[in-house]
């Protein structure tokens, strides 16, 4: 009894912690998320680096993929992050990730750059703690 109460309280406290998303976006349904994703992967965000690709300076984040639910199988994915000059004011719709973030990623191809992907909506990352309960419904939509 006491342990279940403690578990309930712990879950309640976890639910109060701020989530990851930081503009204002229109929400997406699961069906829209799946349909509008070129790649759906279970992966961990490793970190980011600024690189020159085809003479263009890009800031790329790297995802280490464990499992691919939709799209071509690959080991890593490069996602384009906003590249801001130093001392540029923060914009409300910029999404940043932290190394070690693990979960389900719903990724779009960057229409301008081959081999590069984008994540431009906070719902495109579902933290590991949340996706387990939603996997059955998502798999149903993927069929």
């Amino acid at each position: 009894m006491k342990s279940s109460l403690n578990l309930l309280l712990t879950l309640f406290l976890i639910s109060l912690l701020p989530n990851n998303s930081i503009a204002m976006w229109a929400g997406m349904s699961d069906a829209e998320l799946i349909e509008q994703s070129d790649l759906i992967v279970k992966a961990t965000y490793i970190g980011s680096s600024t690189v020159i690709l085809n003479k263009e300076k890009l800031h790329l984040g790297v995802l280490n993929i464990e499992d691919t639910l939709k799209g071509d199988k690959q080991d890593v994915v490069f996602i384009r992050l906003s590249l801001r000059p130093k001392n540029f004011p923060q914009r409300s719709d910029e999404i940043n990730f932290k190394a070690g973030q693990k979960g389900l990623w719903f990724i779009e191809k960057d229409a301008q750059r081959d081999g590069v992907y984008e994540i431009k909506h906070p719902q495109r990352f579902l933290p590991e703690q949340q996706f387990k309960s939603r996997l059955p419904a998502l798999f149903k939509l993927l069929d």
């Binding site: 309280l9 406290l13 930081i22 000059p85 004011p89």
Partner: protein, 268 residues
């Protein structure tokens, strides 16, 4: 206080933790419209915690240097987002609402000279601290609008884009999304607030939807306790105006009369 069981202790801790967490659920950027820092654009008058605003006209492009494809086009008419609405009044009301609960002062609308957004200030007083315009972002859905954190060129070394607000001109601002609500949200960003996770807050990242996931077309034009705590953490509480001299005089008369009557009744 004595705890009878460990669970009770945990419950008490949970309540304290909950209170603390919800009270600080808002987030802020690290800049604001600070005293003396934002004087370049309105004639050099120091305005502690105040900002002017202006409407970016049509055909204006991004002059802020390397940004991204979101700003590849030029601005379109803000009024055309929903011709049935008086958008200028809505913006003014939104600034006033934030000002009514905090030490921020809405210095009102000023003319906009029409230079590229993010252009160098270069001593120009010809546009507002916060410029608001419409531009194509990403088509319908996705990002509805964005705002930049407050500040000046002196702080960011990258032109005047700090504090500016852009609305996506591809959205259905008439029937799907509440323009006034989104403006209230973005002005919160322009004044220095980040996103909040408190249900009902104007600064939630996603536009509110109903139980079926459909965007609610009309929302309350109001701030929650969390929004108010956030803005007050930056600008302090609202300044309550002192009553005018006639009211003070009448109040004093009423007090004297009350005290005299009390004195008379106690002696009789």
């Amino acid at each position: 206080m004595e705890f009878k069981t460990p669970s009770l202790k945990l419950i008490t801790f949970a309540i304290i933790f909950t209170t603390t967490t919800t009270a600080h659920a808002f987030s802020t950027f690290n800049t604001a419209w600070n005293p003396g820092a934002n004087t370049a654009r309105f004639g050099g008058n120091p305005a502690p915690g105040g900002a002017t605003w202006s409407i970016i006209g049509v055909g204006i492009s991004d002059a802020s240097g390397p940004t991204d494809a979101d700003h590849a086009g030029v601005t379109t008419s803000l009024a055309a987002l929903n011709p049935a609405l008086d958008i200028v009044s809505i913006i003014d009301d939104a600034f006033d609402l934030w000002a009514s609960v905090s030490g921020f002062t809405n210095l009102g609308q000023v003319a906009d000279s029409g230079v590229g957004f993010g252009a160098s200030e270069a001593g120009s007083a010809s546009f507002g601290d916060i410029r608001i315009g419409a531009i194509d972002f990403d088509g319908p859905g996705g990002t509805l609008a964005h705002g930049f954190q407050p500040g000046t060129e002196a702080e960011f070394l990258n032109g005047s884009i700090a504090g500016d607000i852009h609305l996506d001109n591809e959205e259905d601002w008439g029937g799907t999304f509440d323009l006034a609500y989104v403006l209230l949200h973005e002005i919160g960003h322009a004044l220095g607030l980040g996103h909040s996770d408190v249900p009902g807050s104007v600064l939630l990242p996603n536009y509110p939807v109903d139980s079926l996931g459909v965007p609610i077309p009309t929302l309350a034009f109001a701030l929650t306790d969390d929004d108010i705590a956030g803005i007050q953490s930056i600008y302090g509480p609202a300044v309550v105006p002192l009553p005018g001299a006639p009211i003070l005089f009448l109040s004093a008369l009423a007090l004297i009369s009350f005290m005299k009557r009390k004195q008379t009744s106690s002696t009789s």
